[in-house]
């Protein structure tokens, strides 16, 4: 797919979109909204991503399942007692995947939101949770305090805080990220990944920790 170039309406800077299904494009210069195709009622408002100690950054590259990818955007969820960086990655064919990162723990999700109809009462820590053919176990339930984003974002609906984030996993492999908002529950399925296997390049070198 050919890259699309957008002018930021706020500062005039050129911003390039590379995903085939861009939902949001945030200006790399002023952090204003350059392009949005959000299908939920709540439109995103500019929210600068706070600095954390993540060593992933925009333009970090990596490999997953034999495919190379490049990080083009991020959605950062500040949970009450945790945080999740959903790094939006573009594959060579313009399709996307999400690389979730929190405290150097990584998982990769295929961006296919699945409706979960069994009710929120099934989603709590240590509960057995069945999604499709997977038997998972609830790891934690956290309320999202804030959402911030940068770069180019693929299909994503939650641009305002207040929803609940639930993570469930099976052993050290399969994992699922649930979002619960106003009674609607959706989830993405993914795999926990050893960061070494992602072969990340162009990462931030925190030299003081070496």
């Amino acid at each position: 797919m050919a890259d699309k170039i957008f002018n930021c309406p706020g500062c005039g800077a050129f911003n390039t979109a590379v995903l085939e299904n861009t939902t949001l494009l945030v200006c790399k210069n002023c952090c204003g909204i350059v392009f949005e195709n959000v299908d939920s009622g709540i439109k995103p408002v500019p929210a600068r991503v706070p600095a954390d100690w993540s060593f992933v950054q925009l333009n970090t590259t990596g490999e997953y399942d034999g495919n190379t990818f490049t990080v083009v955007g991020r959605v950062r969820l500040q949970l009450r007692n945790d945080y999740k960086n959903f790094w939006c990655c573009v594959l060579k064919n313009g399709k996307s995947l999400w690389m979730m990162e929190s405290f150097a723990s990584f998982a990769v999700f295929i961006p296919d939101w699945i409706a979960y109809n069994k009710g929120i009462s099934h989603l709590h820590a240590d509960a057995s949770i069945r999604v499709r053919n997977l038997n998972l176990r609830g790891e934690y339930v956290e309320k999202c305090e804030s959402v911030s984003y940068e770069g180019e974002i693929a299909h994503w609906k939650l641009f305002s805080p207040g929803f609940f984030f639930v993570q469930a996993s099976r052993s050290e492999d399969d994992t699922a990220a649930f979002v619960v908002e106003k009674g609607e529950i959706e989830c993405m399925l993914g795999k926990k990944v050893d960061v070494q296997k992602l072969n990340l390049k162009n990462i931030i070198a925190w030299n003081e920790w070496k």
């Binding site: 706070p50 993540s54 007692n81 405290f103 150097a104 176990r137 339930v141 956290e142 920790w209």
Partner: protein, 419 residues
């Protein structure tokens, strides 16, 4: 673009606090007044603590290297168990490349803990289980509260501590800790560290570390070798010794070189009987003397001098034979034997005779002497075997004592059920 302004003001004293953990920090104590508060929407004073600085061995901001990764001490808490009220210290460590980890310290014993993925029990709620080749056993379950906090935290340490039930499983030097609440399940794996290792890792003088007291609940009994290695080594040495014994026994000549029966009349007017000469061959070998005396409720005593005919070298020893028997309340009893044995080791080859100085008794008039060259001897083997068994026996007895002591503070001790 990422923001980089990470100052928060204290809700009590309004002092500005720069967050070392940047956006990761969700709770902290004010550097000016020590008040604990959350950042973000819950930015209000939550707790004030009495000063418990004497517990803290590693200052906030200190960096140390564990498992080849540099960690920085971000936060420090003193926790108190709610039932028995014992206190311990926890340090929150952080590395961008490893995430967060904990150092816990109790009575000078240290554990380094890090979060792990998945459930080591495979979702089966048992107290004993195998994980990564080690047998874990439930040591304690408890609730706790924070009685002192200092520094920055990536979670609301007060709320999380009070809302979780903790279970700890040990397989020294390793442990698995489960923190469980309605909202979260977190497993951490841990490993025991000596105070010296922590002091070196964080460049803290050993003298500043709290003194080690008692047995740490994950303190290994011996870190230089495992039980299996000790047993394997002992068995191998035993088998080697047994093989050597069997080899030496099978190659022993075990040859009778002299045999004679004597009667008291052989003494005539002398106090000594001189035997005829016999040859001992084969270099430095042992010689066995076998004495038989048909004594009945009596004893027979004699001195022997084995004399080299050529050099005059003497090897002296004494032997006594005694045998008693009778009836007592209808039962026959006996004591002693009619025989005696003596072995002289390392006797050089040559021609020898024996001077015998017998002391006969009133109803004993005869005895016989048999001399054997190069007999198989098992005494040394048995002594070696006992010596080999002593160390592992001492090791396991001491280990059992230490294990009892380790479990003495646990409500789940396997030892109390035996009593």
């Amino acid at each position: 673009m990422s923001g980089n302004n990470h100052n928060v003001s204290c809700p009590k004293c309004s002092a500005e606090n720069q967050l070392r953990g940047k956006a990761l920090t969700v709770a902290l104590t004010c550097k000016a007044c020590g008040t604990y508060f959350r950042t973000g929407k819950w930015n209000k004073a939550a707790a004030e603590f009495q000063h418990l600085k004497e517990y803290q061995a590693i200052p906030i901001g200190t960096r140390g290297k564990i498992d080849n990764f540099v960690y920085e001490v971000m936060g420090f808490v003193v926790k108190q168990e709610t039932r028995y009220h014992f206190k311990w210290c926890e340090y929150l460590l952080f590395s961008p490349y490893r995430g967060y980890a904990f150092l816990s310290e109790y009575d000078g014993h240290w554990n380094f803990l890090w979060p792990i993925e998945g459930d080591p029990r495979n979702n089966i709620k048992v107290d004993d289980f195998n994980y990564e080749g080690a047998e874990y056993r439930l040591y304690q379950k408890y609730n706790a509260q924070v009685v002192f906090a200092k520094g920055e935290f990536f979670f609301d340490v007060l709320d999380v501590t009070e809302s979780t039930v903790n279970s700890e499983f040990i397989a020294p030097p390793y442990m698995l800790a489960l923190e469980k609440s309605n909202d979260s399940v977190l497993w951490c794996q841990g490993e025991y560290f000596k105070p010296k290792e922590i002091a070196e890792a964080f460049s803290i003088p050993l003298s500043k570390m709290p003194p080690r007291q008692g047995v740490g609940y994950t303190q290994p009994f011996n870190s230089s070798y495992s039980d299996k290695a000790l047993i394997l080594f002992s068995v191998l040495v035993f088998l080697t010794t047994l093989l050597a014994q069997l080899t030496m026994s099978s190659s022993a000549e075990d040859k009778v070189v002299f045999q004679h029966d004597y009667h008291d009349t052989d003494l005539q007017d002398q106090k000594m009987i001189a035997t005829s000469s016999f040859d001992l061959t084969g270099g430095m070998r042992n010689v066995e003397f076998y004495i038989y005396a048909p004594v009945e409720n009596n004893w027979f005593f004699t001195e022997f001098s084995l004399i080299n005919d050529d050099t005059g070298d003497e090897y002296n020893f004494t032997e006594e034979v005694e045998f008693y028997s009778g009836y007592d309340e209808g039962y026959r009893w006996t004591e002693g034997t009619h025989t005696a044995e003596a072995i002289l080791s390392m006797i050089p080859a040559g021609r020898y005779h024996i001077n015998i100085y017998p002391e006969f008794n009133f109803n004993n008039h005869a005895f016989s002497v048999t001399v054997k060259r190069d007999v198989p001897v098992s005494t040394n083997f048995y002594l070696t075997a006992i010596g080999l068994l002593l160390f592992p026996a001492f090791y396991f007895v001491r280990k059992h004592y230490r294990e009892r002591k380790r479990w003495s503070d646990s409500d789940y001790s396997p030892y109390y059920t035996e009593e």
